[in-house]
């Protein structure tokens, strides 16, 4: 996959909207294209978190494994969604498994590299944190609503 295509995909993605040209370039420099088959794990709970992903297409299931039971699916993510915020929050490890359900193409971004750049340039850090806080907020809100068990017998 050419750099030009990666650049196009990333610059058009709503997540990177309004990001300064030079920061986008930086991010493109840290990006690579990855393909997963159903059943693959993109990452496992407890592993170190050094990447994040933009799902181009496919479906990824966020799961927590429970001994003696089937793993609990917290949420599934699909086309265009951002996967993984643990890379930007110390101590940088994954809180759940990300298992691929359907053939999935992602753009993987090198978190370690980006983290260093964020320490050097706080402005870049702020731009990324802003965006990730928004992701975390969405996930939190969705989880809270799930907790309400709205369709339960009441």
């Amino acid at each position: 996959m050419s750099i030009q295509t990666l650049e196009r995909i990333l610059s058009e993605h709503p997540f990177f909207k309004d990001l300064k040209e030079e920061y986008l370039e930086l991010i493109v420099g840290c990006a690579r294209n990855v393909f997963y088959k159903p059943g693959d794990f993109i990452f496992r709970e407890g592993e170190e978190a050094h990447e994040f992903y933009i799902i181009r297409d496919g479906r990824v299931s966020l799961e927590i494994s429970v001994p003696g039971k089937n793993p609990v699916v917290i949420q599934t993510l699909e086309d265009g969604e951002v996967l993984g915020w643990s890379w930007i929050v110390p101590p940088y490890y994954w809180h759940f498994d990300a298992r691929v359900v359907e053939p999935t193409r992602v753009i993987a971004l090198d978190g370690r590299c980006l983290r260093n750049k964020c320490e050097e340039d706080h402005s870049l850090g702020y731009e990324l944190l802003k965006r990730f806080v928004s992701i975390v907020e969405q996930r939190l809100q969705a989880t809270r609503i799930q907790l309400l068990d709205l369709y339960g017998a009441g």
């Binding site: 599934t76 969705a142 309400l148 709205l150 369709y151």
Partner: protein, 286 residues
């Protein structure tokens, strides 16, 4: 095609008197939800309704409950009701069989404004049993498909076992002119589809916000959060419609029970535009 008629008035001189209907079929949809198809006992009785309206259903000697009509508004004299067994009356209803008789009063209430716009996108968001009152609107829209642009259904159920109308949903999914997205709050093994609350489907749903009409039905909390997501997407507040619920006893605006602020859910609703009720929706104990 069939034009939507103006509000249908129950012909009864005494609106508290039920008409007798016989159960023609019964189907168990999930462990606690069933669908009944009813037919009037007397052939002269003509029953027609608008999508979104409800009936007051009477089980002999037990009581009466308001249940949305969930069948095809273009099929006269077949009334379908999908009901969840939650209380005395609905549990008694759940034990009835083909050939048993029920009392029906209705149809009452306001309807989904299916004729509100030409060439607009229609986004239908259903939560749990909320799919039942929306199904008549879906039937109507599909029967008049050329009038609309994109038609999208976002449906959230608790678990894959709680999905209603499973076979029908498969049929809908196979249509090229109807985009159906189903999600569950809790996945179970074998479920390969979406997991997450139905509101998570909204940001990416393929509709043109400025030219969209949304019909939302489900638990009140779900409708609140859904409306917020739709508005975030740019859908206009007076183009979002929800179906409210409150305790009902008479169904005709005379007993006072179903009041929600100044409106009676049974006659000013149950379908309201989000605009109409948004102020009260976020206040407690109204």
């Amino acid at each position: 095609m069939v034009q939507v008629e103006r509000e249908i008035i129950t012909k009864e001189a005494n609106p508290m008197l039920p008409q007798l209907f016989v159960i023609r079929s019964r189907k168990l949809e999930t462990s606690d939800t069933f669908t009944l198809e009813l037919e009037p006992i007397e052939s002269e009785v003509e029953f027609s309704f608008l999508p979104g309206q409800f009936n007051m259903i009477y089980v002999f000697g037990v009581g009466e409950v308001p249940i949305s009509i969930s069948g095809d508004p273009l099929k006269k004299n077949r009334i379908t009701h999908t009901t969840r067994m939650v209380g005395t009356v609905t549990k008694a209803m759940g034990m009835l069989k083909r050939g048993d008789v029920l009392g029906i009063r209705g149809p009452f209430g306001t309807s989904w404004p299916v004729d509100r716009c030409e060439n607009c996108d229609v986004v239908i968001v259903a939560g749990g049993i909320g799919l039942a009152p929306l199904r008549p609107a879906i039937y109507y829209i599909l029967a008049n498909r050329e009038r609309y642009n994109r038609v999208i259904l976002l449906y959230g159920a608790r678990t894959p076992e709680d999905i209603l109308y499973k076979q029908e949903i498969e049929k809908w999914k196979s249509r090229f002119d109807f985009e159906v997205y189903v999600t569950v709050d809790r996945g179970t093994s074998g479920w390969k589809g979406n997991v997450g609350v139905v509101t998570t489907l909204i940001p990416r749903a393929p509709f043109e916000s400025r030219n969209s009409v949304a019909f939302v039905c489900g638990p009140e909390v779900m409708m609140r959060f859904t409306a917020i997501e739709l508005i975030k997407r740019g859908v206009k507040e007076d183009n979002i419609f929800i179906s409210m619920e409150r305790n009902m006893k008479c169904g005709i605006g005379l007993c006072g029970h179903c009041q929600f602020g100044p409106v009676f859910i049974c006659k000013d609703g149950p379908v309201f535009s989000y605009n109409q009720v948004k102020d009260l929706l976020f206040k407690r104990e109204i």
